[in-house]
Symmetry: C2
């Protein structure tokens, strides 16, 4: 059965591809799996029908063969376990790739989200000027460590994996801040991933949704 | 081979069990697996030997049979996939339990960490009084949603799983804030988990480390 994912009816980013459905679209494209998309308005996301699918009232979700999943990390991991292409076959290499998925979502993304939220919502607060450098420093620490680990490698651990997919999409949130450009290895890493045909297809698909006439 | 995990030489919480090695200890106890612990000082955590194990210079790590893993979520997931007891056998039920692991780490923990960091490090900042209620409101939203989903069930989805383990340990961070007590179902859920013999053993083991004579 073709899986169905949910996405914003209109993404707040207007089609920059930063909404989390792009991660699932990208994974499905890498795995060569067709999918359907059901668009959800901000209102509908908090109504009982959607909250039954996603306890925190967010997108994306995945529905397939009677299974309903939420959390982007869990959806991408499930898909990558069902179809070859995003996780190594070897058990140990697979566990390491999964480490990078968790690292992207639990260690790298939280300080990035705090920074982007402060830039969006605290711009007029009297504390913004003092807090912004603190938040940027937290992000820089993670980027320095990530860049050091990546070194001159193409991907984080061997072949491109679901760990790279998740990490790159987290890093894309930084594009408008200029922070990524301070770390040329990471900027090149992100550019390599964006050049993948599967990413291009995923990006185009979300762009078509978010720029369609009202 | 007995796995070796790393933990703080002295946890900043003085033995309250909030450091992330407690999550891995708890998982190993639930799975009936013996383990060894290597203690790491704050200095050593940032040195090359440890950074080779953990790119972000944190604890815990897991080493077993030539495999080196970082990220608590990835470690607990790997252990739960290797040994029965923390994940359902059924593929769909297993994917749902993994959703709760990611939800705990990516959706519930980040606002809780921001709140606890602000309470620790921004107490003397001029903005603390205005920011604190904003941070508390973010946490309350997640707790309301989690409590609504849990309802009168014992655990989040069927039997106790790695998803509950991770969620409960994330919620334990809130104990000192009083926020958990606003949600009696969640407070009871946490208490049920803390009463598990495996948790008791894990808690006692970290307490012994963190209260030993210098």
């Amino acid at each position: 059965m073709t899986p169905t994912i949910t996405a914003f009816e209109r993404s707040p980013d207007g089609g920059k591809g930063l909404a989390r459905d792009t991660r699932v679209r990208w994974a499905l494209e890498e795995l060569g799996q067709a999918y359907e998309v059901r668009l959800v308005s901000f209102g509908a996301m908090k109504e009982p029908a959607h909250m039954a699918l996603h306890p925190f009232g967010q997108i994306p979700t995945l529905q397939e063969d009677g299974l309903a999943l939420f959390e982007t990390g869990a959806i991408v991991l499930h898909l990558a376990q069902q179809h070859p292409g995003l996780l190594p076959e070897d058990t140990q290499a697979r566990a390491r790739a999964v480490s990078w998925m968790f690292a992207a979502l639990s260690t790298v993304e939280p300080p990035i989200l705090e920074l982007t939220m402060a830039r969006l919502f605290e711009r007029d607060k009297p504390w913004h000027a003092e807090r912004l450098p603190i938040l940027e420093a937290r992000v820089r620490t993670r980027l320095e460590q990530l860049s050091a680990r990546l070194g001159d490698a193409e991907w984080l651990d061997g072949a491109f994996s679901a760990g790279d997919l998740m990490m790159v999409h987290v890093l894309l949130r930084l594009r408008s801040t200029g922070l990524l450009d301070e770390f040329p290895r990471l900027a090149a890493y992100v550019a390599r991933a964006e050049a993948r045909p599967a990413y291009q297809r995923a990006f185009a698909a979300q762009l078509a949704v978010n720029t369609r006439p009202a």
